[in-house]
């Protein structure tokens, strides 16, 4: 417990010290080294501390029940571990990243991000409602500051404001659900209320459909390391909250329709997220939509866990929860990795638009290698971390003994069809992201001067990439760790994992019905080696370099390559019903004809615009109350006093 105290106090101290200290380069740098050490301490805490206990920090100046309490049980420990991997990478990355900001801005970033990390740590280890809500609000505000400190143009400020608005809508729902949970005897009806409010609250934070609209606006304006923390960890705190509510506090009152609603919302998020990710031109927006897709996947798995639990399929429910936790971990790793590599790209080129990049594999070999690993993990390809969760997910669908639930049997086939479509589209998304940013030739002339990333940046990217590969090849240590957590939730969760290297959902050790990632790697390597030796032996030894084929022309210009809009053109056509496209076509008389297409979400004209218009209409109706004259307001006051007096006399 002492270690947890030290870690929390270290971040608090770092934040406070950063406020006080003047903005000098040397001081900032030492503060950054401090945060790197503190991040390492968090990692050690999560990796080596096994106990589970509660630490109450009573404050006499707060009323009763409003003291801070910290607890550290296995679930918290896992999420703190997830946090620590990203925080460590980000703090190493941040050593050299923020130098292009002014010193005042650097000081702001350093201070606020200390409080931001402290808030995330407290959310994940909160021992009572007050601590959780306090930390949640601190997390929202500090992340808002980090996003909006540099927002100079109107659209950026609007995006930040939208984030703050939706986050507070969610906060309100969470507060109400905590209130209902703590102050009322829970019945089936109130449990339903709590669930719905909790789902709205955490869904807003997780960026689930239809409350995801803040997500794509916020990421492009925030600095990349902050994006990495937001996508890697903040979204997971919402998942943490959902698990706490639905599997710890409300477990006796759980109902199957909760699972169905989670699955439906999750599926919508997956589909909308991946389609829009395929159509983006801004690399950070693309990753933001892809986060939405992954969070949708996690929520669908959580829904499956609830449905299976209600249908008494405990082994499957166990496996579904396992996917929730494992994919949270692997998503936080590869998404942090990709956001950090966009940071390196931005640093080297100053471009956020995919269509202006290209050829970076030559300039930044380390970054491109790590980003390739992150991309392959994101697409859920074998050998990388995303595939493990996909494999378990399809396995669950397959091995269900759900024939007694007819509606579920039918529903699940549709779910699987949509999910595999989304997995395939995710493959397209990564080819677009990696292929356009890193491959090809530089699309703009100033990209020639792009240099390699600094050693700190490389180190943090390699750190995250190694974890992604490790989980993809040998997930068993993580699975057995997670299985212990799940066993703590319910005694029913006792799925055996008898093998050291084999992933298998079947109960018996003898059944050859599993997947061995290491064996796949070895057979691929053996195949590669054999082919390489044979080709080397029998083919011409030399290699001639020449310019690429010019299609019959003398020169091929850099602009002849596919643009990022062009690359996703087919999907714009197929999914035209699900998106909103605004075309600006050139006229025949234009001197400098320019074609522009802007893809936005259907949800704006279908839901949000009518909503805001409705609000404005109500405002217009009630506007006459505000007359702007002091006499009127005095009349209001007198009137209110009269009503209150009448009320007092009456009762």
């Amino acid at each position: 417990m002492a270690l947890l105290k030290i870690v929390v106090l270290a971040w608090l101290g770092l934040g406070c010290v950063s406020i006080i200290l003047p903005a000098r380069r040397l001081l900032l740098q030492s503060s950054r080294y401090g945060s790197m050490l503190a991040a390492l301490a968090v990692f050690c805490l999560a990796a080596f501390y096994h106990g589970s206990s509660t630490w109450l920090f009573d404050t006499s100046f707060f009323p009763y029940k409003l003291g801070f309490a910290i607890q550290f049980d296995p679930l918290s420990r896992f999420f703190v571990f997830l946090l620590s991997l990203s925080v460590l990478a980000v703090s190493v990355f941040g050593q050299s990243y923020f130098n292009h900001f002014t010193l005042r801005q650097q000081k702001l970033i350093q201070t606020v991000s200390c409080f931001f990390i402290l808030a995330m740590l407290l959310v994940l280890t909160a021992g009572n409602t007050f601590t959780f809500l306090f930390a949640w609000e601190l997390m929202t505000f500090s992340s808002y500051l980090l996003i909006a400190f540099n927002a100079t143009d109107k659209s950026a400020r609007q995006a930040g404001f939208l984030y703050l608005g939706i986050a507070h809508l969610g906060f309100l729902s969470i507060v109400i659900s905590f209130f209902l949970l703590g102050n009322m005897p829970i019945s089936a009806v109130s449990a339903n209320f709590i669930f719905v409010l909790m789902f709205i609250g955490f869904g807003a934070k997780a960026g689930l459909f239809p409350l995801h609209v803040w997500l794509p606006g916020v990421y492009p304006i925030a600095p990349s390391p902050i994006c990495a923390l937001m996508s890697g960890v903040i979204l997971k705190t919402a998942i943490y909250g959902m698990i706490r509510f639905s599997f710890y506090w409300l477990l006796p009152y759980q109902q199957a329709w909760w699972g169905y609603s989670l699955i439906t919302i999750g599926l919508c998020s997956m589909l909308i997220g991946v389609i829009h990710a395929a159509l983006q031109t801004d690399m950070k927006r693309l990753l933001a939509y892809s986060s939405m897709e992954n969070l949708g996947f996690i929520v669908v798995s959580l829904g499956f866990a609830i449905v299976f639990y209600q249908y008494h399929q405990y082994a499957l429910s166990d496996a579904a929860l396992l996917i929730v936790l494992l994919h949270s971990l692997s998503h936080s790793l590869f998404k942090s990795l990709l956001f950090l590599s966009t940071g390196s790209i931005l640093h080297a080129t100053g471009e956020r638009n995919l269509g202006k990049l290209g050829g970076l594999i030559q300039k930044m070999p380390w970054v491109s290698g790590c980003a390739l690993i992150g991309c392959l993990a994101m697409a859920g390809l074998p050998l990388f971390s995303g595939f493990i969760s996909e494999w378990l997910y399809l396995r669950i669908f397959f091995s269900q003994g759900m024939s007694s639930h007819f509606d579920f049997a039918i529903f699940s086939s549709v779910i699987v069809a949509v999910s595999v479509l989304v997995f395939a589209l995710a493959g397209f998304v990564i080819v677009k992201f990696f292929g356009i940013a890193f491959l090809g030739r530089p699309r703009e002339s100033h990209l020639v001067h792009a240099g390699p990333a600094s050693w700190f940046e490389r180190l943090s990217l390699v750190w995250l990439a190694l974890w992604s590969v490790f989980i993809g090849l040998w997930p068993m240590p993580f699975i057995s760790l997670l299985q212990k957590i799940l066993h703590g939730i319910s005694n029913q969760f006792a799925l055996p994992w008898p093998h050291l290297f084999t992933l298998s959902l079947s109960q018996s050790a003898a059944n050859h019905d599993g997947f061995v990632p290491v064996l796949l790697l070895m057979s691929l390597l053996a195949g590669l080696l054999l082919i390489f030796i044979l080709i080397k032996k029998y083919s011409a030894p030399s290699l001639q370099r020449n310019s690429a084929w010019g299609c019959g022309f003398n020169v091929i210009t850099l602009r002849m390559q596919e643009s990022s809009e062009g690359f996703s053109q087919p999907f714009k056509l197929i999914f035209s019903k699900l998106i909103q496209t605004r075309l600006a076509l050139p006229k025949a008389t234009d001197v400098n004809p320019h074609y522009a297409a802007q893809v936005t979400e259907r949800i704006w004209p279908l839901f949000y615009t009518p909503l805001t218009q409705g609000v404005w209409r109500i405002v217009a109706l009630t506007k006459w109350i505000q007359q702007g004259k002091i006499a009127v307001y005095l009349t209001y006051m007198a009137f209110t006093l009269f009503i209150l007096l009448v009320g007092v006399l009456w009762l």
Binding site: Q362, S413, A424, L524, S539, I556, M560, E562
Partner: protein, 324 residues
């Protein structure tokens, strides 16, 4: 079940090597029948092997800005498909690696192979490469779910996800499942689309308006091109083998006797050549569709695959006799 001993393992390895070895032969046969159908004289059956040798001894020419990814991708593509050659059934009812890699992993390895080629196509940065990659992925994104759904349907019917288990159950309980009919029609479309055949792609063209797969590999030459060509015919072979041995498994060897092995080899080869002939005739009779009509076909395939799974689920719930 086949017992584990040295001879059986050798036979299994031989099976995989044979799949790799005969792949160009099947491409050659396809070309011969196509030529005959179109009233042209055909090249030899072994022409793909000659072409391979020719490409192998030529010095490859590579674009100046090609990175390590461009050089590495053909090897990786060929290795992925070569691993799969040891998974699919050929004359025995399962491949040596199929107990280890279930159908989800098989679909994953296909995806890995495809994505490595698509990335390599974008590496040089010519207009053709990325155009090909875009079109290939556009089709693949719609094909991959269908492939997975068809394989999952087979798994649902047989209650096991490895090709070994699926093959075993299908051979021993040769009952007709109605869900399989839908899966079969979906798989035909997958087979055509995934291998760049008519009506999705014309494998013989180099016209920029229509080409898909050829556009991706336009920058390759020499040994790299040789590997890719071999890989392509291997991919076609793998899909054909999956098709004939999963949907028409009769004749496959289930025990190790010379008679059974010989029957298995001959029946599979006959099935393959008949299927290829049908494929060639079908290709000669129809025109390639416009690129943007392709989603309609593949949407149909997705729908058929979904129908197959739904029907299977329906049958399972009905058969177990639980009231709806």
């Amino acid at each position: 079940m086949i017992s584990d001993n040295t001879i059986s393992i050798l036979l299994f390895v031989l099976q995989g090597l044979l799949v790799i070895a005969i792949a160009p032969l099947l491409s050659g046969w396809l070309k011969i029948v196509t030529c005959r159908c179109q009233n042209r004289s055909a090249a030899s059956l072994f022409q793909p092997y000659f072409a391979f040798c020719k490409l192998l001894i030529k010095t490859p020419v590579m674009a100046e800005n090609a990175s390590w990814l461009f050089r590495f991708a053909p090897y990786f593509y060929a290795a992925c498909l070569a691993v799969l050659a040891f998974v699919v059934p050929f004359f025995l009812y399962y491949g040596v690696l199929s107990p280890l890699f279930d159908v989800i992993v098989v679909a994953g390895i296909f995806a890995l192979a495809r994505i490595s080629m698509a990335l390599a196509a974008m590496d040089v940065g010519t207009a053709f490469g990325s155009l090909g990659a875009r079109r290939e992925l556009f089709i693949a994104c719609l094909v991959e779910p269908v492939l997975l759904l068809v394989l999952l349907n087979l798994g649902l019917i047989t209650k096991g996800l490895t090709l070994e288990h699926i093959g075993f159950v299908l051979i021993h309980k040769g009952i007709l499942y109605p869900g399989l009919a839908f899966s079969l029609s979906a798989f035909v479309l997958v087979l055509l689309a995934e291998n760049g055949r008519f009506p999705f792609d014309n494998p013989a063209t180099h016209l920029e308006l229509t080409m898909i797969h050829e556009a991706m590999i336009l920058e390759y030459s020499g040994r790299y091109l040789a590997l890719i060509e071999w890989g392509n015919s291997l991919k076609l072979t793998l899909f054909l083998l999956l098709f004939v041995n999963l949907f028409f498994p009769c004749g496959l060897a289930v025990q190790l006797s010379w008679g059974a092995l010989l029957t298995g080899l001959i029946t599979t080869l006959v099935k393959l050549f008949v299927l290829l002939t049908l494929l060639a005739i079908a290709e000669s009779l129809q025109a390639k569709v416009r690129l943007f009509r392709i989603p309609e076909y593949l949407g149909l395939a997705l729908f058929l695959a979904l129908m197959g799974i739904l029907l299977t689920q329906l049958m399972v719930t009905q058969v177990t006799g639980v009231p709806i």
